[in-house]
């Protein structure tokens, strides 16, 4: 299985991984582990699990969290440090976009966005699509990579149909 992740990452710039609700956490960590084997500077945008929780999980799974800069939109705020930027809410799309853009100009090689499904819970479909389109354009212009996580259960939604148009590959996983 990991090879499927790796070849998708190698061959594409912007990827969506569609993961089923049932084993979402487990599968995302498989992807995170693969990405961290390949890249040294990764930005992880979390709309699902708080930064502190993820740090513990990383340690348990022996993933080097030192390679990551987190943008945490779940904890509702906190003190920024070199490893984490807190954003008020998953609704704060402008702030998320600003912070991702700032990292684009730095060493960051790839972004992991967790997840499109959560994005859609907090913002309407039109706004979400605009946001994804805008951030994908910026990532492309900077020749960086981005992986979007998404729930398999959302694959038929309007947003996913639209997003299909501007990503390189959608990988059911």
């Amino acid at each position: 299985m990991p090879s499927k992740i790796l070849s998708a990452i190698r061959e594409n710039q912007i990827i969506v991984f569609e993961i089923s609700k049932k084993n979402y956490i487990e599968k995302t960590y498989e992807i995170i582990a693969e990405v961290s084997n390949k890249h040294d500077n990764i930005c992880y945008v979390t709309l699902n699990r708080p930064y502190q929780t993820m740090l513990k999980d990383f340690a348990a799974k022996k993933i080097d969290s030192g390679k990551f800069t987190f943008i945490d939109a779940v904890s509702g705020g906190g003190k920024n440090s070199p490893g984490v930027i807190f954003v008020q809410s998953p609704k704060s799309l402008t702030d998320i976009s600003i912070d991702m853009s700032n990292l684009l100009g730095k060493k960051t090689e790839s972004f992991i966005f967790d997840s499109l499904s959560t994005l859609l819970i907090y913002s309407d479909s039109m706004t979400s699509i605009k946001f994804v389109h805008s951030i994908v354009s910026k990532i492309r212009a900077a020749s960086k990579k981005c992986i979007f996580m998404s729930l398999k259960e959302d694959s038929g939604t309007d947003m996913m149909k639209d997003i299909n148009m501007f990503v390189d590959k959608i990988v059911p996983y």
Partner: protein, 293 residues
């Protein structure tokens, strides 16, 4: 040079006149200035000086292209807590660092509070090259009322322009003045007409003195009118609007340079943030997600 056609025409005309006689032109302008101070000197000054004021806020200066033409009066409009005070303090602190003389007229907060507020962002007036160049003056609307009475007593029509309408301290010649806020001043007036002549007088006075001014106005969250009577925004050379937009239980700040006479500028609403310990940050390339209703 993104000169609008009107501007270009004026410039051409000036050249022609200048060719006939430069000194007579000056005298003529001076005469006209006395009679109708608003009509000519604007373009005249623009041609002559072409100096621009920078805010020192990187993203905002990018929106403003070359900057704010020196001597302009700019309305800073926005709802409660949209960042008007911080933006102006940051701008004049940066200017004072550059050796400019600045004056902050506050109707809302005391000097002590303002200076404390500034310190929290790392703007320490004690560290300025010349502390005396940064003046905060606390005013009350009673000061304005009293001043107004004095003006009325002395005034006969246009003679009103001889009075310093904002009590600039004697002997202090500021390059930049901030008025926080024009809305507070407006509240001191009962009659609309007296307020109007006061405010016209104020604009004229600042222009004559060559002062670049920022006039804060308190507006709706998403304003359609940018000043207490709507007249100020026509008298002003520029209008910058600060938005604090609500999206459910969160807020997003945004900024727009709505107009700026005699200067090119970006015409779009872009993201802005108040960053702890830093101040206002403007992101000229960042669109704002969610509607500006």
């Amino acid at each position: 040079m993104v000169a609008p056609p009107r501007h270009a025409k004026v410039k051409k005309g000036m050249k022609k006149r200048a060719a006939t006689s430069r000194t007579s032109m000056k005298t003529r302008v001076r005469k006209i200035t006395k009679r109708r101070p608003r009509s000519v000197p604007k373009n005249f000054q623009k041609k002559k000086i072409q100096e621009y004021v920078k805010t020192g806020i990187e993203g905002l200066d990018q929106l403003l292209d070359k900057g704010i033409p020196r001597g302009s009066s700019v309305i800073i409009a926005g709802g409660a807590g949209s960042g008007k005070t911080i933006m102006c303090l940051q701008t004049i602190y940066n200017a004072a660092k550059d050796g400019k003389k600045v004056l902050y007229m506050s109707f809302e907060e005391t000097e002590e509070r303002l200076l404390d507020h500034m310190k929290a962002f790392g703007w320490d007036v004690a560290k300025l090259p010349n502390r005396k160049d940064f003046v905060v003056k606390m005013c009350s609307i009673y000061d304005i009322t009293r001043l107004l009475e004095a003006m009325m007593a002395k005034a006969e029509g246009d003679l009103m322009i001889d009075i310093n309408p904002i009590m600039i301290p004697k002997g202090f010649k500021p390059d930049i003045v901030v008025i926080d806020s024009v809305t507070a001043i407006a509240s001191a007036f009962q009659g609309k007409d007296t307020y109007r002549s006061y405010i016209e007088n104020l604009f004229r006075y600042l222009q004559r003195e060559g002062v670049t001014s920022f006039m804060i106005t308190e507006t709706e969250e998403v304003p359609t009118v940018f000043s207490p009577t709507g007249v100020e925004e026509f008298l002003a050379d520029g209008v910058i609007v600060l938005y604090s937009l609500r999206k459910g239980d969160i807020r997003q700040n945004a900024i727009e340079v709505l107009k700026l006479r005699g200067a090119s500028h970006m015409k779009k609403v872009v993201a802005m943030r108040v960053v702890s310990g830093v101040g206002i940050e403007v992101y000229p390339e960042q669109e704002v997600f969610g509607d500006i209703k």
